[in-house]
């Protein structure tokens, strides 16, 4: 009988076998990082931090465009109202435009 291939020999080998993986000092940190990564999609502040440059640029652009459009629209409206009331004011005193009482 072949001693090398006997069931006893296999059992003994398995009993003696010890796995000794190399210790990784980053193991815990890596596990937590992976957990964070899984959790991240539901967390907008973390998403914003991850895309800070793109989001910051878009925000700055939105602020500038909003400010410019707001200023121009208000000024245009004020100018239109000014033209309207000024014309009415002058016409009210213009005898060339008046009706008979």
């Amino acid at each position: 009988m072949d001693h090398e291939n006997s069931p006893d020999s296999l059992s003994r080998t398995l009993a003696d076998w010890q796995v000794q993986p190399p210790r990784s000092p980053q193991f815990r940190a890596a596990v937590w990082a992976r957990l964070e990564q899984v959790r991240r999609p539901a967390d907008w502040p973390a998403f914003a931090r991850a895309h800070a440059r793109a989001l910051g640029g878009a925000l700055a652009l939105a602020l500038v465009i909003g400010a410019w459009v707001g200023r121009e629209q208000a000024r245009a409206r004020v100018e239109a109202d000014r033209a309207l009331i000024a014309s009415a004011y002058v016409h009210d005193m213009d005898a060339r435009l008046m009706r008979l009482p």
Partner: protein, 142 residues
């Protein structure tokens, strides 16, 4: 994907807030109220920063000028009704223009420094831009 939509919402909200703030900062509520109500005196007061004394004096000038204006108005309309020569009508209209210009200059002289010039720059071109045809309140039927 949800975070991208949320980000878009935040960006749009920031733009809208910026629009609102700058619109409010550049708006002139008093002027718009005066225009909406057709209140020219309120417009003068707000637009040219008149004190109470200046406003009262200008109002008095306007009241006095209303009598002058009515005389000119009658003369012009009478001339049109009797189909007076064009030269006569033109002369009467020129009298009206001169009186109005003089009146506006008096009003301007009562305004704060700098505002009088701005007032004249707004009103005088509107005398010059007068047109017979299509003016809304003209009554020229003979």
């Amino acid at each position: 994907m949800r975070n991208w939509w949320l980000s878009l919402l935040v960006v749009l909200a920031a733009g809208a807030a910026s629009f609102g703030v700058f619109y409010a900062l550049n708006d002139d509520a008093e002027l718009r109220r005066a225009a909406r109500d057709g209140d020219a005196m309120a417009w003068l007061r707000a637009e040219f920063h008149l004190s109470d004394e200046q406003f009262a004096a200008i109002r008095q000038l306007h009241d006095d000028y209303a009598l002058v204006c009515t005389r000119h108005c009658r003369a012009i309309i009478n001339a049109r009704q009797r189909q007076a020569p064009a030269g006569e009508i033109a002369t009467l209209e020129q009298v009206c223009v001169d009186a109005m210009t003089e009146h506006f200059r008096r009003v301007a002289s009562l305004m704060p420094a700098g505002e009088g010039e701005r007032y004249l720059a707004i009103v005088l071109p509107r005398i010059a831009n007068y047109e017979h045809v299509g003016a809304p309140s003209v009554q020229v039927t003979p």
